[in-house]
Symmetry: C2
Subunit: 404 residues, 2 copies
């Protein structure tokens, strides 16, 4: 059926139908392969006149760029190619327990500038940490500005239960933060950004980064598990983040894997985090120098593994064994059959992988195939890419917000 | 916006708009509180003339009954009350490891006839068991027929992974059945039923029975866990069954709760089923007489509990402890905060409940509140009610199928 697209447009206000059609046309314009107006008309069922008028407005938003006459169509006249404009981007930022990460992602999905700083954030107040983050953000925003980029919005990912609508951290046990209102700070990160800066859970954002830019692009449905000081997780099903009725699904780090195990920061006992988080692995590996940072001790662990140290290898394999149990139990609950691993699980992949595959086979033969276990290649930029990507998607879903 | 409802009606074929409007009007007619045509017009935005015409067709389907002039409206003339017709119903049936259950549920949600037979189904072939089930079905269908009821469809629930679209059991480990094609048998259970007979997972159907007729009506989102010989589960979120990307979500019985535990029928190790299924509890309680049926031994367990037998109490409390771990892990993955327990977990509620609450508090303080732990009151009729209810909902969603 053909959509009526112009009738409801009123001066100073974009009508509902035109809003939908702007997003519809924009959805046919990708980052690389240029699309012509004629192709868009054929794909959407809109008239060529309507498409031309809608494209004119999209060019006005700055989200879309004309690439000049690029090629002859199979039939008819050659068209002007349209593509998303890589000069539009969004800021992504992450506060984790032992690092801060900031970057800019453009509409082509490229990470244009980024900076990762090792810091000790546990025990510091949120305002102090966000002030330090802001200085890194300023450098990235300034670099983007110098390159002629416009930032549409941004996001801040934290290892915490969050309320994105209010911009508050509900509970970040590994940072020691509870009920922290970050709304004022968020507003200042990308001044004037039309699509704002949104707070998110770090593992959820990293899970989405895998979907859009990483190992999840071909999967569609998978469990993402990220090892940091804490262990976070996110569920992607049908190419969307699944949040569950309470909004905080995917908390794989607090699945109980060892009923007689250690107390956990969540108040429970024997959670995955108590046996597979960085502190747990370092303790089991005997790397206990409290004076150095977690990151420094993780580097020491890596060196021990490279040297074939038995205690280090056993510690990592034990973590992988329990990681397998948590993945199996998650798969039983939601019936996903693929997993993407990030954080130190990815950094330690050569040691994690064999023990993990054994564990999966022992506890649920046939449920997660060997080829369905993927390791992230995004490193410490995963969460910031995801939260920037979410901001870009907010813009692409509502291009009319950019019209005067 | 007002719907156009008559334009697309063609002789011998009910058009799309009219189909939608028939279902829309039917959705305003409940089992008890009678609705008038005027009320339906006001609630749906359809004209009174359209509603009258649609109601005439709904009366023709037999799903709706006129109750005579029942009351004066606040304004205007008194109307004729319309309600769902309790003479329309569906058959529900369940094959479990140690019983068969059959019943008829009417459009008011009442269980009109039912019969539960203790049988030993493990090790027998599916054809043999379904033949025995068919004889019970015949008695129930005949009783419904004698009472002037018309059966619209039905369902068969089994403790198995199923493919409902093909009517096949993929794997029923506790029955010893694999790849069993039940499609021919299903067709014969309710001959001529316009909405067919559909195969389902027993715990999924029981979970839906709680939503429609039981403890889940006020919850909307919850985890259902049922203890039989196996331990099954179903997830209801936003008042719908959640099946997950692979179609078999909610397999709580195979969450790993004891990594060093027993081998499980699924091929894994330490699953909830190995410590909280009926056989596991009976073994731990020392009730091991292999000559009597599981049901008889469960009765013996009940007697031991009533007599204060320490070994029996410890066995049930141990099961409840592990049940708590599986519930906590499920809650972490999907973020549901309520649970409904069925099967022997409900039958043994006085002994299960305190140990379960302790376990929930120990492993995830504050996640599942005490008042969010409910016990089913549907007993062995839960799954059959759910599968009959699903058949009734198929009819209510497509009333036009009943028009000539």
């Amino acid at each position: 059926m053909r959509e009526q697209d112009g009738a409801t447009k009123a001066p100073g206000r974009v009508g509902d139908v035109r809003r939908r059609n702007l997003a519809l046309v924009l959805g046919r314009i990708g980052p690389e392969e240029p699309a012509t107006r004629a192709e868009i008309a054929a794909a959407t069922g809109l008239t060529k006149a309507s498409v031309s008028s809608l494209v004119a407005e999209l060019l006005e938003t700055g989200l879309v760029d004309e690439l000049g006459v690029t090629r002859a169509g199979e039939r008819g006249r050659p068209g002007v190619g349209l593509a998303l404009d890589a000069r539009r981007g969004a800021l992504g930022a992450e506060v984790n327990v032992d690092y801060l990460a900031v970057g800019v992602v453009d509409l082509h999905g490229s990470l244009r500038y980024h900076e990762v700083a090792e810091t000790v954030n546990r025990g510091r107040g949120p305002n102090d940490v966000v002030a330090e983050l802001s200085r890194i953000v300023e450098r990235c925003v300034s670099a983007a500005d110098d390159a002629g980029m416009t930032l549409l919005g941004g996001g801040l990912a934290v290892p915490a239960l969050v309320d994105p609508s209010r911009g508050t951290i509900l509970n970040a046990p590994n940072l020691g933060w509870r009920n922290a209102d970050l709304a004022p700070a968020l507003g200042g990160l990308v001044p004037g950004a039309p699509f704002g800066v949104v707070l998110s859970n770090e593992a959820d954002s990293a899970a989405l980064a895998e979907l859009w830019y990483g190992r999840g692009t071909s999967l569609g449905s998978y469990l993402y598990v990220s090892g940091e000081v804490g262990v976070g997780g996110g569920l992607v099903m049908g190419s969307e983040l699944f949040s569950g009725p309470g909004g905080h699904a995917g908390e794989v780090g607090h699945i109980v894997v060892e009923p007689t195990g250690q107390r956990c920061s969540c108040g429970g006992r024997g959670c995955l985090e108590t046996v597979a988080g960085q502190e747990a692995i370092l303790a089991a590996a005997g790397i206990t120098d409290g004076g150095s940072t977690t990151a420094a001790r993780m580097a020491a662990l890596q060196a021990s593994l490279d040297a074939g140290d038995t205690q280090a290898i056993t510690a990592v394999e034990r973590a992988a064994h329990y990681l397998g149990i948590a993945i199996v139990s998650s798969a039983r609950v939601v019936d996903v059959s693929a997993v993407v691993l990030g954080g130190h699980f990815a950094a330690l992949a050569p040691w994690i992988r064999p023990a993990l595959l054994s564990s999966l086979e022992a506890f649920a033969p046939g449920v997660i195939a060997e080829e369905a276990v993927a390791f992230s290649e995004l490193g410490t930029t995963a969460a910031l890419r995801g939260t920037a990507g979410a901001a870009l998607r907010r813009a692409l879903a509502a291009p009319y917000e950019l019209l005067a």
